[in-house]
């Protein structure tokens, strides 16, 4: 592609109000620890959860829904916790990489099996694997701490032992960097040849086979990416909370990820983070001010989205900001 074309693309993007909104939004998030420190932890949780939701979103692009992706969220968090328990003082980066690696390896093992199935079978098999892992975590008490879970001790950061406040700040900004970097990577991956082939699973596997590509292998590539993203989110969440419990892989957590993905805009990268942020806010404040009916509020919220804006929050923003420009919907 010529430099002029590339430049004109960049110019067009800079003039897109929605793109500017994302930049402003990211900068606003980056300002939270100083502007609204009370929200720092909540936003950290939302970003970690958003990374997991992004993993679910990847699969939605291929028309597949996983009801068990909390498995990778949990595996990476437990991998980090086990690493810290066996090697105290391990560096933050190593914990992050080890947790992600654990999720990818688990994704490879499970993925080789589940990519043979589609639709409801794909969704339920993922659920089955996550529940098996949940049972292992619950029953092998001496190793996993059972329902109480295990502590994920605070790692060092580039060799420095930080206090609680400093570490939370590092975690927060790592979350921001990961959100931007992995969001960018996933967007690029969607636009790449392998990403495009992966997405065609949704519309025509027969043609895919007749292009000389194994649909299972194409699905596996996206499945591994989704497991890795969930893994990054899981280990970040584990370090933010300082304790890892079987609740990380509980089916409700998986359903929550699908819920947020639909809320944000099924298939949208930005929607995954926007959905996670709004979900965390609604959940936190609804549970404070509406006691036991906060789930009802969230359910009602999702119902309204599905009925009146099936493209999710991102589609609403697209229609508001790109009205008249003919743009809208999701990038392929």
């Amino acid at each position: 592609m010529s430099i002029t074309t590339e430049q004109s693309k960049v110019n067009a993007r800079m003039k897109n109000p929605l793109f500017l909104l994302w930049i402003i939004g990211t900068l606003a998030i980056a300002a939270v620890p100083f502007a609204m420190p009370s929200l720092q932890l909540l936003v950290s949780f939302a970003m970690a959860k958003g990374l997991g939701v992004l993993g679910v979103t990847v699969l939605l692009r291929a028309g597949q829904v996983s009801f068990g992706h909390a498995l990778y969220f949990g595996i990476s968090a437990y991998a980090g916790a086990f690493l810290m328990a066996s090697m105290p003082g391990t560096d933050f980066v190593i914990v992050l990489l080890a947790g992600t690696l654990g999720a990818v390896l688990a994704g490879l093992l499970v993925g080789l099996f589940v990519v043979r199935y589609r639709g409801i079978f794909f969704g339920m098999l993922n659920l089955a694997f996550s529940m098996i892992f949940w049972s292992i975590l619950e029953k092998f008490y001496h190793y996993t701490g059972g329902a109480d879970g295990i502590r994920l001790a605070r790692p060092t950061v580039l060799g420095n032992a930080l206090n609680h406040v400093q570490f939370e700040l590092v975690l927060f900004y790592t979350g921001v960097v990961l959100m931007v970097a992995l969001g960018w990577f996933t967007t690029r991956w969607f636009a790449s040849p392998i990403g495009q082939l992966f997405q065609t699973i949704k519309t025509n596997e027969t043609r895919l086979e007749y292009l000389g590509v194994s649909p299972r292998r194409a699905l596996l590539s996206g499945y591994l990416l989704s497991a890795a993203l969930c893994g990054v989110g899981g280990v970040m969440m584990g370090m933010a909370q300082g304790v890892v419990t079987p609740e990380y892989v509980w089916w409700v957590r998986s359903a929550e990820m699908v819920f947020i993905a639909v809320l944000g805009g099924a298939g949208s990268v930005q929607g995954a983070f926007l959905g996670a942020l709004i979900y965390e806010f609604v959940r936190t404040y609804a549970s404070v001010y509406a006691g036991d009916i906060w789930q009802m509020i969230l359910g009602g919220f999702l119902l309204i989205i599905i009925l009146f804006a099936p493209g999710g929050l991102i589609a609403i923003l697209n229609s508001v900001f790109n009205r008249g420009s003919g743009k809208g919907g999701l990038d392929k």
Binding site: S192, P193, Q196, T203, N204, R207, E209, Y210, L211
Partner: protein, 249 residues
Amino acid sequence: MSDVLLETRNLVIKFGGVTAADNVSLKIHAGRNLAIIGPNGAGKTTFLNICTGWIKPSQGQVFFEGEDITPLPPRKIVHRGVARAFQIPQLFTEHTALENLLIAVSARDHLRNPLMDMHAIPERDEMLHLLDMVGCADAADTVVVELAEGQRKLIDVAVALALKPKLLLLDEPTSGVASSEKHAIMEILIGALKEADVTSVFVEHDMGIVERYADEVAVWNSGNVQLRGTPAEILEHPDVIRDVIGEVV
């Protein structure tokens, strides 16, 4: 006679009580357009399905350029040089016509770089030319689901040609197309095949199309090749007139 590109030997397959391929032995020669005709249920599409590995025969073998490809899955047969266009176009309906071709060529050459923009691949201009060859240049940026059936048929062929095959199997390329457009579509199609130097086998029900565009004709009946010859020989044969064309002799 030219070189044999694809050869089947004694293919047999049954679906329940129906014999869809009954000891089918056939040679397909390079550089010629072979039309397959026959009544519905004669086993024409089954033959294409076997040749492309979609269905495995219970007996017999398929050879492509001398290699036994019988046990291979369709994707591996595609890599050998056998492509397929379908009776119902098999396209990626949420993508544009150009994107369908870019995906096809990406599947062939560009799966290693996860950060490469598919729209920036070097073959983009080549694919635009291919769309032009099949008369669909105007549809390049239109989402496939919004296109007419005739255009979808042509794009389905273009997707197969993007793979640079040696042999293209087409299942009823003019079915579902208005009668007035059939010859125009075949004209474009045969022209594109000639330009790409691709041998073709096409299943067809329209005898006017067969007469005009086929170099050879094979008549299918009850799961086997009943007759084979030039269009002039075949279309005047009393059995063909009775069983396929449907006129009283």
